[in-house]
Symmetry: C2
Subunit: 247 residues, 2 copies
C-alpha cells in the first residue's frame, strides 16, 4: 500500500527536503506490515529497496560459520535499513527479522541512490548514520574480544545505560536470549550475570526498567570481572588463553 505524504515527511532522513521532492518520494514508496518473527530481509537476497521502519521493532541477525544465530543490533522506528546493498549493489549482508509487529516502507533502489548522492543534506545524514554503524560495530567487536562471557554481558549492559533524572537506568533491555546472541554466549549465562549484579545491588529491577545503583562497579565488572562470578565461568577466558599459550 502507498504511503501518505505526512508519513514520508516524518521520516528523519527526509526532514528538511522541499515539498516537491517529498511528494515524488512518497509516491514512489510502498509499505507493508509484518508480524513478530517475520523475516523482513533475507541475507543473500538482491537489494531492490531502501527500507524504513515506520512502527514496531526489528533485529539484524546473522549466522556464524558454524551455524549459530547471532543478533547484531536492533532497529527502532524512524530508522532506515538495507542501505548497504543499496549503496554497493552487493547482496543483503544479514537477515532482518521483526521483534514486534512492524510496519515497513520501501523506496526503490534507483530513486534512493539519486536522493542520497545528489542531496548534500541526505548524503551527510547517510554518512553520519554509516559512521555510527561503523563505531557501534567496532565497539561490539571490542566487546566480543573479551574472553570471559560474564564480562561480555556486563560490557553489553553498560552500552544500554542511559542518563535520566532518576540517575542511570536501563530501559527496554532486550530479552535474555537476545542479549545472549549479541555477546555470543548462552541465555543461562546472561541470566546468571544479571542475577549476580542484582544480588550485589549494582543494578536493581523496578518494574520494566533497571536502575544502575553503582555505575562504577558495573564498569569494573565489565573490565575486570566480579569476585562473585561463578568459578567455572569466571575462569573461561584465562583458561582458553593459557591453553593457547601452552600450545
Amino acid at each position: 500500500m502507498p504511503i501518505a505524504l505526512e508519513t514520508a515527511a516524518n521520516i528523519p532522513l527526509f526532514k528538511g527536503l522541499d515539498q516537491e521532492t517529498l511528494i515524488t518520494v512518497a509516491k514512489l514508496m510502498s509499505s507493508r506490515s509484518f508480524l513478530s518473527h517475520d523475516i523482513v530481509l533475507r541475507k543473500g537476497d538482491e537489494a531492490d529497496h531502501l527500507c524504513f521502519l515506520l512502527a514496531g521493532q526489528l533485529q539484524v541477525v546473522d549466522v556464524t560459520e558454524d551455524g549459530r544465530e547471532i543478533g547484531i543490533h536492533f532497529i527502532s522506528p524512524g530508522a532506515y535499513f538495507g542501505e548497504l546493498s543499496v549503496i554497493d549493489g552487493a547482496p543483503r549482508s544479514a537477515s532482518i527479522v521483526s521483534v514486534k509487529p512492524s510496519e515497513v516502507a520501501f523506496l526503490p533502489t534507483a530513486q534512493a541512490r539519486a536522493l542520497i548522492f545528489n542531496r548534500p543534506l541526505v548524503a551527510e545524514r547517510f554518512l553520519t548514520h554509516f559512521a555510527q554503524i561503523v563505531r557501534a560495530s567496532s565497539r561490539q567487536r571490542t566487546l566480543l574480544s573479551i574472553p570471559n562471557a560474564f564480562q561480555r554481558v556486563f560490557a553489553q549492559l553498560q552500552q544500554f545505560v542511559r542518563d535520566t533524572n532518576e540517575g542511570q537506568v536501563i530501559e527496554g533491555l532486550p530479552k535474555q536470549h537476545e542479549i545472549a546472541i549479541m555477546v555470543n554466549t548462552s541465555r543461562e549465562t546472561v541470566s546468571r550475570a544479571l542475577h549476580t549484579l542484582m544480588k550485589l545491588n549494582i543494578v536493581e529491577k523496578k518494574g520494566t526498567i533497571f536502575i544502575v545503583n553503582r555505575p562504577d562497579q558495573l564498569k569494573t565488572a565489565a573490565v575486570a570481572g566480579l569476585d562473585e562470578m561463578p568459578a567455572t565461568n569466571a575462569n573461561n577466558g584465562p583458561k582458553v588463553e593459557k591453553a593457547e599459550k601452552a600450545a
Copy 2:
C-alpha cells in the same frame, strides 16, 4: 610539506574531479613521513584531518576492555582513513600505526566535508567505501564468534585467498602476530594452525606466497575444524560452551 597536484590527482577518491578543484585541494593538503611502528593517529584524539596513505602500509589497531591490543585491518596506498571522525565529529575510534615506512597526506576536516557532501561523485565513493568497511567488519564479527581459535585462523586465511593464473594463492600474508591480533588468539596458535595446514598439504609455501592446494579443505577446516588439530585447542570452544550451558 605541501603535496604536488599530480599526487592529489592520483588519489582514487579524487579521480574525475575538475582541474580547478584538484588545484585547490592539493594546496590545502600537507604530507608527512612515518617510520615503521610510528603512531599515525591516536584513539581518542580530535579529528582535524582526513588522511590519505600515499605510500607504505598502515594497520588499524584497537585495545580490548581488558587491555589487549587487537588489529582490525590493514590500510594500503591510495586509501584514505580517519574518515569516521571527519564525518561525525567524534574522537578517533582507533589508533593507526605504520607497519612499514609510510607517507601520509592530510586534508583539513572542513574542506574534506565540503568536498564529500557537495560532490555526488565523492559522496558515492565515500559511501561505497563505508559500505565495504561495514561488510568487512561484519565478516570479522562473524569470524570472531567462532569459539575455536584454530578455526578462526583458518577462516581468516580464507579471506586472504585470491584467484590467480596459478590457482588460489595467498600473497602478502600478514605476520603471525598480526594475524593473531586480528583473530583474537596467540601467535603460537597461528603458527600451529599454519603448520597443520602445510603438513596436510592443504596449503604449500613457495617463497613469500602460499599456494592453496585444497581450497575446499581450507573451507571445511574453517567451518568444522580438522581432525589433526591439537586436542587442547580443538576443544576450547565446546568446553566453554558446555561450561556456560551447565552454569
